[in-house]
């Protein structure tokens, strides 16, 4: 049990409020909570990669960081325009 893993444990529980907000509340709130979860997830992946001593899995965090923005944009565009 190293410090990174403990950090990951703590971070994991910050996903709980995000989850609650994703499933209740209005459309905008849900979207914001989803974006928040994406950010938490990115940091969590960094922590876990460090905890497992697997430097090659930083790719995952990087992918998450790059793609979350696009995901948010998808929802924003479609909620705004069509749905």
């Amino acid at each position: 049990m190293n410090a990174w893993l403990m950090g990951a444990d703590v971070l994991l529980f910050t996903l709980v409020p995000c989850g609650i907000a994703v499933f209740r509340g209005n459309a905008i709130e849900r979207l914001v909570a989803l974006e928040m979860a994406g950010i938490v997830q990115t940091i969590l992946l960094v922590f876990l990669a460090e905890a497992f001593h697997r430097p090659s899995t930083y790719d995952l965090a990087l992918a998450m960081a790059l793609l979350t923005f696009g995901g948010g944009l998808v929802f924003a565009r479609f909620l705004e325009r069509w749905l």
């Binding site: 994991l12 989850g19 499933f23 989803l34 992946l45 995952l60 998808v74 929802f75």
Partner: protein, 94 residues
Amino acid sequence: MLVLQATILIFVAITATAVVFTRQPVRQVVGLSFYGIILGLLFFILQAPDVALSQITIGAVALPLMFMLSLAKIRRDAEERKRREESEHRREAA
């Protein structure tokens, strides 16, 4: 470690159930995205980084975009049908 795995498994179970019980499609897609995030975490913690990467890349943009496009298409079709019916009514009235 085991605690972490168990916690994430429980998260997955709860989120999946929550997605199923969300009835409105657009909200369901948002929930599904969140579920994808948790699922990616589960794969990673079970030491399957390849699968986790697939989940992340697909779940971030491509999957929601697909769903949103389909929903937009269904909405459009419904609107079109309604418009067509309305115009038919009008024609009949005339």
